[in-house]
């Protein structure tokens, strides 16, 4: 019985290796999303790997520390990781423009689990997409992590905190997070491309040209991502406010509440 189980385990272990071999044996040209494999020169690919590695490392450390401290964090991490993966791989057609693009999901992740952990979860989602879904690439993983996972998380989280500090309702603060997180992601992608390919013109001129080319698709998608982020964060806050306990702390209390008076 024990031998059979061991043999079965060995066979199960061989299955991914065989699958990998099958994939590698039949390569043909492909068009990938995000910044595809080979588009960035090697030096720029390495440069973007550095900040990506630093922030992903901090995120891994925080995940380890926080999961030891809080047992209930694992389901929230699972939900956030799955949500980022699904949202960032979901192509949405944009009417009038006649193009397709995808939201990021990292602003939502940053509100739910914090920007560093959201960066790590976004990086993991991008790695799976680059390996198995022909989205992005291994050499451009660092650049894609910086634009979508890092900048998307921090711009979204920063917007959320700023708007909550101004006592804006949760739905609108999360809407702003989704909106600015999405736009910041694509602005960063435009900068990454412009900086790597600017040998053919001035950097900022090329940045403006690429950002303008993104605009007809990403302007409405940012609004859509804002609505989605606002809806999900409001729902989570209504049903399980303790998951977002920090949200109450970052909003400045009303003067009469700060003085200890009742409403």
């Amino acid at each position: 019985m024990l031998k059979k189980t061991r043999r079965l385990k060995r066979h199960i272990g061989l299955a991914p290796v065989l699958a990998l071999g099958l994939f590698l044996l039949y390569p043909t040209p492909a068009c990938a999303m995000h910044i595809a494999e080979g588009i960035l020169p090697a030096n720029w690919a390495v440069i973007w790997y550095i900040p990506a590695a630093v922030f992903v490392g901090i995120g891994i450390y925080l995940i380890k520390r926080k999961t030891k401290e809080t047992k209930g964090l694992v389901p929230l991490l699972g939900l956030t990781g799955a949500a980022i993966f699904l949202i960032s791989v979901f192509p949405i057609p944009v009417p009038i423009a006649g193009t397709c693009s995808h939201p990021c999901g990292t602003p939502l992740g940053a509100i739910l689990v914090g920007p560093f952990i959201s960066t790590t979860l976004g990086a993991l989602a991008l790695l799976i997409q680059a390996l198995f879904l022909a989205h992005g690439g291994i050499s451009t993983w660092g650049a894609n992590v910086v634009s979508m996972a890092l900048v998307g998380s921090f711009a979204g989280f920063g917007s959320f905190v700023l708007f909550r500090r101004l006592n804006v309702p949760i739905f609108l603060a999360a809407f702003a997070a989704g909106l600015f997180g999405d736009w910041a992601t694509y602005a960063t992608t435009a900068f990454e491309l412009a900086s790597a390919l600017d040998g053919h013109g001035p950097l900022w001129g090329m940045f403006a040209a690429i950002a303008t080319a993104f605009a007809p698709t990403q302007l409405p998608l940012g609004i859509l991502e804002g609505l989605f982020t606002g809806g999900v964060v409001s729902l989570v806050y209504q049903r399980r406010p303790e998951l977002l306990s920090y949200v109450r702390r970052i909003a400045r209390p009303e003067p009469h509440l700060a003085r200890g008076e009742n409403v």
């Binding site: 994939f23 492909a30 995000h34 595809a36 057609p93 944009v94 423009a97 708007f163 804006v168 909106l179």
Partner: protein
């Protein structure tokens, strides 16, 4: 004062959204179309277009699943696995009291 800052923030947000909608409508006709034609992704119509113009071509992915219906299969598999995980953890977080 606090009410004012809240009103200013919400007003600024409304203005940004209105400008975005106007920008979308005005720029939509100039949206670049890639080789894929209508409803193509911005990866091809924007990223690969500018890269090709600068002499950089996209290479095939490390594991190339973009062959025939294989990409549909891995997308469906990824969507199902991600959807299952999201639904499972959502139920654990929101529906289960303990």
């Amino acid at each position: 004062m606090r009410n004012l800052s809240k009103k200013v923030a919400i007003g600024a947000l409304i203005i940004v959204v209105c400008l975005a909608v106007i920008g979308w409508v005005f720029l939509a006709r100039q949206a670049p179309q890639g080789e894929e034609g209508p409803w193509g992704g911005v990866d091809v119509s924007v990223i690969e277009k500018y890269a090709t113009d600068a002499g950089r071509e996209a290479k095939e992915p490390f594991i190339n699943t973009d062959q025939g219906d294989l990409l549909l299969f891995v997308f469906a598999l990824g969507g199902a696995a991600g959807g299952f995980a999201a639904g499972y953890y959502w139920r654990r977080l929101i529906s289960e009291k303990n």
